[in-house]
Symmetry: none
Subunit: 563 residues, 2 copies
């Protein structure tokens, strides 16, 4: 290679689009980036090219969109950067999850086979397909009844978005598809299979979404058998028991896949990984005691630790789940930035829109400006950030939002600010639960999407957590993480890295600007947070189940209306 | 008069505007009407023509606006109707209250005197001036400590909106104004004084706002002396002990006042009355067992009874307070239609404004249409209608609003509807408290302002109270009531009436359309109302004092900001 720069490619398959980046392995600099929006996006109404309707909580995707994303992004990276394909030492991919694809034994999605394409269950079920909620409830109850120890690692509840509720849904509602499926596989592993011809099951998705752990493996056959005797062998029938650690080379780019992407065959391909988790080392979080906060539509919190702790209300605790050698904890707020989007679409008066237009700024900027001019507690408002339920620490999707303290003088920017504060109070609740459970957190690093541009939100985060807030430098943290794992899969000999920690030290960076708490605001927020906590506990722990009763009543009214 | 039609004039001084009407005494037909919006409206930020800022809960008015309203409305009535001024047999006025004006001995408001005009306490404090809340709390405590029996007539609490908290506030915060004020007088009596040159104190305002009763008179000097020794003689120093019953002629129109209004001097002028109370006989409510619900910025509920009952959380129970010979009970919701106005000004998205414009309807109509298309409980929202505190039955101005049940799918019309429902739940709470206290209510008649045009609100009222709702026919019930009392003040000899009951029978009418509850909605609303009740009791009875703590915190932050 004689001194030529070396690169790796990271491809991040998100909910609406995929992003591919070409990264300088020596320092993490992004040489080129390309985004492709899936032609079919998130499919919630009808099967593609058909009149077959989907149920109310369905969300599926088109597998061809995934392959098209490869074809449409990667060639642009090479074109744009004018590097030689020989300089690429590895490819890594991350994917949403649990996004579940039933396939034949060679990996062909059943959705692409004429015989099966009219059955909704043949299609990839996206992470946010929520139609298996009832299956998740029954799985949770079953695990409680059987005293299954794995439940402790998942905050005591199995989420409808995970792998087995979706598998059980296929089994229960379409025996044709269940029987035809030689494999049922995570999209992250399916994509690696497409690239390499090698079927693997990555540790990250297995640990966070499929109840697997390094020490205990999968749940027992008797657990699955209790769901249905014919499901006893689901692991051996439809999956694999062998789990592949992160940052390994699982194979090499096949001729076919290389052609899709205009790359050369033989490039090492790394183990797949979930998208949020890939962002962690790319945000410089690769050691114990660090917390990555990923601010997006929802908020995700990843904490690394040397030891195993029991932390209530987590989404998952997985040994080696992100950084081999460390325990990683995932917590989350099912509603984050989507509160702010909701507000923008449903509660900003016309007068504000006109003011923004007149001043040639966007409404977000106007509202941040107005809200930032307020002191904490000046509005007299406090909110519960449960517009989309509560993932951590209450693990209850049936909760919903609340705003208290309205007066006739309440202004839109005050409501907006109360929503920013509420989401951050939710983050503090998670942060404090870690600390109270013994997990040390010495540093908070933030990454994510839109909300990251919100200075006020980051200021509030500093003052509410009373921590200095550092910001990951890259716009593409998930894709960068995938490129970093690719460099680890390539290994030191080929110019990559021995460990993801090494890669993180060289390829991941922080912005120089940080957010530092100030004494005054810290104190005021302590008082507001104690009000948040009182309401959180009162409505969250069932002292008043109004939210659930109202939701049930609403659902029954809507059901009646539909008939 | 030889068969010529006879008329009386009623002038209603509301919160934002005054309305004058010319009424045919024989049948209540309105011959002409004119509205004048006060140039200064409700003043909450700075003293007029100055940079002197008002405190956070202040609400004052400009006395010149009141006189200007006379000048700008009454002459139009005569012009428009082309009647001769001799056909007018009486003038009656009603006013918001307790709206308190410090004046010189000739009735000149101190606010209009150069020397005093820079002192906020010199200005008329509007009923909804809430800065004397702490005084009200201390007065209540004092009355409790002294076992004052009058407290029972006022739901056990003295309201910050009433007369003495405002007087004490002046005394405590501006000795200059207190000392300079020869009189401190209700705006209703001040206006009658302006018209006739005669200073009176009307029974309605004295009974409802100044702790006076027919059987006990005012509280003792020792009560006021316990507030402060220098307040012992407040009644004799600043007021009058003599109280004038309703429907009396207190004097005749002076030359000066006649000139303002282009009337002839000498016309009988009736005792002043509070605006809400004037509406009662004009809504046909002049007998025991009837309840008038006055839907305006705030909601007021008046019930007539032959007997004296103790009803918790009322605003007042006054013998002869509306209809001589009957006990009248007043309850109230300090926030009513102002919730809907708040929503219109602060929470209607630009897209809705554009839709309304495109369809050439107003935004209110658009929202009513969208909200009416929903089923009860379809939104999953429930609200507490305390944007402006709670008058009955909690009697607590420090409470504030709440909305529970937000999701990412919550639409503006759902929030709007939840506000309509919440105000009506507040009405049911009052209705139920009367019934539970033994006061019979056989009929509900609704009157009021803007909210009366809201079909959806009236439908909700029928379904939530499970009563047929009848509607007073006149648009101007308060002004009509004033015109009716004016006809009584004129007396039978001059072509008026002997009693207000007689006037009510002839001059007051109902619309033929009524609102009838339906079984389905009644049931759903029972369930929603029980959620409302749980929240009402939890936040209203101090199980969680979040609203007060947040208000105190807000006030201290604003205080700091001001310095």
């Amino acid at each position: 290679m004689s001194g030529k720069k070396l690169y790796s490619i990271g491809i991040d398959f998100g909910t609406e689009s995929a992003r591919a980046i070409l990264v300088d392995v020596s320092n993490g600099t992004i040489a080129a980036a390309s985004v492709n929006h899936y032609a079919h996006g998130v499919i919630t109404n009808k099967l593609p090219g058909s009149d077959i309707e989907l149920g109310p909580d369905w969300a599926i995707q088109h597998p061809q969109d995934y392959i098209n994303a490869l074809k449409r992004t990667v060639p642009k990276l090479i074109n744009e950067s004018q590097i030689s394909p020989e300089q690429i030492i590895g490819v890594g991919i991350d994917f949403t999850g649990s996004t579940v694809i039933p396939t034949t034994s060679d990996g062909t999605p059943l959705a692409l086979i004429e015989e099966f394409k009219d059955d909704p269950h043949a299609w990839p079920k996206l992470w946010k397909h929520h139609a298996a909620q009832e299956k998740a409830n029954r799985l949770t109850q079953l695990a409680i009844d059987r005293f299954e120890t794995f439940l402790d690692r998942y905050g005591g509840k199995i989420n409808a978005e995970w792998f087995f509720p979706k598998v059980w849904e296929i089994f229960d509602e379409s025996s044709t598809i269940y029987n035809a499926a030689d494999r049922i596989i995570e999209a992250s592993d399916w994509m690696v299979w497409q690239l390499t011809g090698v079927e693997t099951r990555n540790l990250c998705a297995a640990g966070y979404k499929a109840l697997w752990s390094k020490s205990e493996g999968f749940p027992l056959e008797t657990f699955f058998g209790a769901m249905d005797p014919n499901l006893s062998d689901v692991i051996d029938d439809k999956m694999k028991r062998e789990i592949t650690p992160l940052g390994q080379q699982v194979g090499e780019l096949t001729e076919k896949a290389a052609k899709w992407m205009k790359l050369v065959p033989g490039i090492p391909v790394a183990t797949g990984i979930l998208d949020g988790h890939a962002a962690v080392p790319a945000a410089t979080v690769a050691e114990a005691g660090k917390m990555a906060v990923i601010l997006g539509t929802s908020f995700v919190h990843m904490v690394l630790s040397n030891k195993e702790y029991r932390v209530p209300g987590m989404c998952g605790m997985v040994e080696d789940g992100i950084i081999p050698g460390l325990f990683s904890y995932e917590a989350g707020q099912s509603g984050g930035g989507d509160h702010f989007s909701w507000f923008m679409h449903n509660a900003v008066p016309g007068a504000y829109e006109r003011e923004a237009r007149r001043r040639k700024i966007d409404v977000f900027t106007l509202l941040e400006e107005k809200a930032a001019a307020l002191e904490p507690a000046e509005s007299g408002l406090v909110a519960l950030d449960w517009w989309n339920g509560n993932r951590s620490i209450l693990v209850d999707g049936d909760l919903n939002g609340l705003i208290l303290g309205y007066t006739l003088k309440t202004k839109p920017e005050e409501i907006y600010r109360s929503l920013l504060e509420a989401t951050i109070f939710g983050t503090r609740k998670i942060f404090e639960t870690f600390i109270a459970s013994g997990v040390p957190i010495n540093e908070i690093i933030v990454t994510g999407g839109g909300p990251l541009k919100n200075n006020l939100l980051l200021n509030i985060l500093a003052n509410v957590t009373r921590m200095e807030i550092k910001i990951a430098d890259s716009e593409y943290t998930s894709a960068l993480g995938s490129a970093m794992y690719a460099a680890v899969a390539a290994g030191e000999n080929r110019g990559g890295y021995a460990t993801i920690q090494d890669a993180s030290k060289k390829m991941a960076h922080l912005k120089s600007k940080t957010y530092i708490p100030n004494n005054n605001d810290k104190k005021t927020y302590n008082r507001l947070y104690s009000e948040y906590t009182l309401l959180h506990d009162y409505f969250g722990y069932g002292h008043n189940n109004a939210m659930k009763r109202l939701k049930n009543l609403r659902d029954s009214i809507l059901e009646k209306k539909r008939r």
